[in-house]
């Protein structure tokens, strides 16, 4: 029952964000270029872009506003244009909210939003050249990043009963 509940939460969350991504909002940033490339994929992993679900494969280009998802046994690793590394473990959902790397114009920004699962992040040049412009968000917190590497685990909503069964619904 616990398992079913968390699946429902996940599906509603996914549907909600899926809807957001097809909401017709066009990013004002240079939306005409990819921002990252998939370097490693294992198991089930997909990219959701403007209503379409694309299987993640090595070499696939990632764009701003893409949602990255991994299945129960999936993992994925991507590299952004500024050498930021981002990888996800199984059962994870993450959105590329913003990515701007334009050194000639002095414009830098990276904002990643993690909904659930596990992820590892290694700062690239945006964090080195403009430390206040790199942010990683979870449902509960915003993480400001100063040139570094960290890992984040985001749990789904749990009822207290979860502890007794030892099932964290991952």
């Amino acid at each position: 029952m616990k398992h079913t509940y968390s699946k429902t939460v996940v599906l509603s969350l996914a549907a909600f964000f899926f809807f957001l991504s097809t909401g017709g909002e066009v990013s004002p940033a240079d939306a005409s270029a990819p921002v990252a490339i998939v370097k490693k994929v294992s198991g089930s992993a997909t990219v959701v872009r403007q209503g379409q679900t694309i299987p993640a494969t090595k070499g696939l280009e990632i764009w701003e506003n893409d949602t990255l998802r991994t299945g129960r046994n999936g993992s994925i690793g991507i590299v952004f244009n500024d050498d930021t590394f981002l990888s996800m473990g199984p059962g994870s959902i993450l959105i590329i909210d913003e990515f701007v790397f334009a050194p000639r114009q002095g414009k830098f920004s990276i904002v990643i939003r993690m909904l659930k699962g596990t992820a590892a992040y290694l700062s690239g040049l945006i964090s080195k050249l403009s430390p206040d412009s790199a942010h990683f968000k979870t449902p509960t917190a915003s993480i400001g990043i100063r040139g570094t590497r960290f890992a984040a685990k985001v749990e789904e909503e749990q009822k207290r009963g979860a502890s007794q069964s030892g099932d964290l619904g991952r």
């Binding site: 294992s42 993992s75 050498d83 596990t118 917190a141 993480i143 990043i145 789904e156 207290r160």
Partner: protein, 207 residues
């Protein structure tokens, strides 16, 4: 199975401590790790309830609730890091083509490189040439001695000095991106007016 019992124990312990209200509890965990070259940065984790800085490798902060401040950082043992983050860490892309970061140090109040840094310049050049790099960032800084205006000027001069040095050795102007930040971004945080040789620097990033 061992993995689950670790969490089982942790979760129960957690519930007992807080007297576990019947509201739903989320627990997010954020662990700071060292960079591949061993350096450690800083993360600031902010919820509606407050902020927490984590600046020691292997230390983590937990978030129980979005309206509560993150928990004070505690060390996480390597085994747990591997259990929780193993798949995410092993999906990390290959490091070999990443940018290189060099730090050139200066004598106090000058645009004079330290002795060791003069040697490092040769290595910077060697790497730019072997990578045929067309993207080299030169970023000037100072320590916190002196006014902001003074140090903006000094950091600019330091960055320009390094730029000119690289140009004189044949690096193309189009490959160089020069910036400077005065005293606003010390590598080693200090109080104002505290001299710190490690902050008197130009960072050169070679892609």
């Amino acid at each position: 199975m061992k993995k689950w019992s670790n969490f089982f124990v942790g979760w129960i312990f957690f519930c007992l401590l807080t007297g576990c209200a019947t509201h739903r509890a989320k627990r997010d965990l954020i662990v700071l790790l060292p960079d591949p070259d061993g350096k450690v940065g800083t993360i600031t984790v902010t919820t509606n309830g407050g902020s927490q800085i984590v600046d020691k490798p292997g230390y983590a902060t937990e978030i129980e609730d979005l309206n509560k401040a993150p928990v004070a950082p505690k060390p996480v043992n390597e085994k747990e890091i591997n259990e929780v983050f193993g798949p995410a860490l092993s999906a990390q892309p290959d490091l070999s083509n990443r940018f290189l970061l060099f730090i050139l140090y200066f004598e106090h109040n000058t645009t004079k490189l330290t002795h060791e840094s003069k040697d490092l310049v040769l290595e910077v050049l060697r790497n730019i040439k072997s990578r045929k790099s067309s993207e080299v960032y030169v970023v000037g800084h100072t320590d916190l001695v002196g006014t902001e205006a003074y140090n903006i000027e000094l950091s600019s001069k330091r960055a320009s000095y390094v730029r000119d040095l690289l140009l004189s050795k044949g690096i193309k102007p189009g490959a160089l991106f020069v910036s400077y930040y005065g005293k606003s971004r010390p590598l080693v945080p200090t109080k104002n007016e505290v001299p710190e040789p490690r902050n008197r620097r130009v960072e050169v990033i070679v892609r």
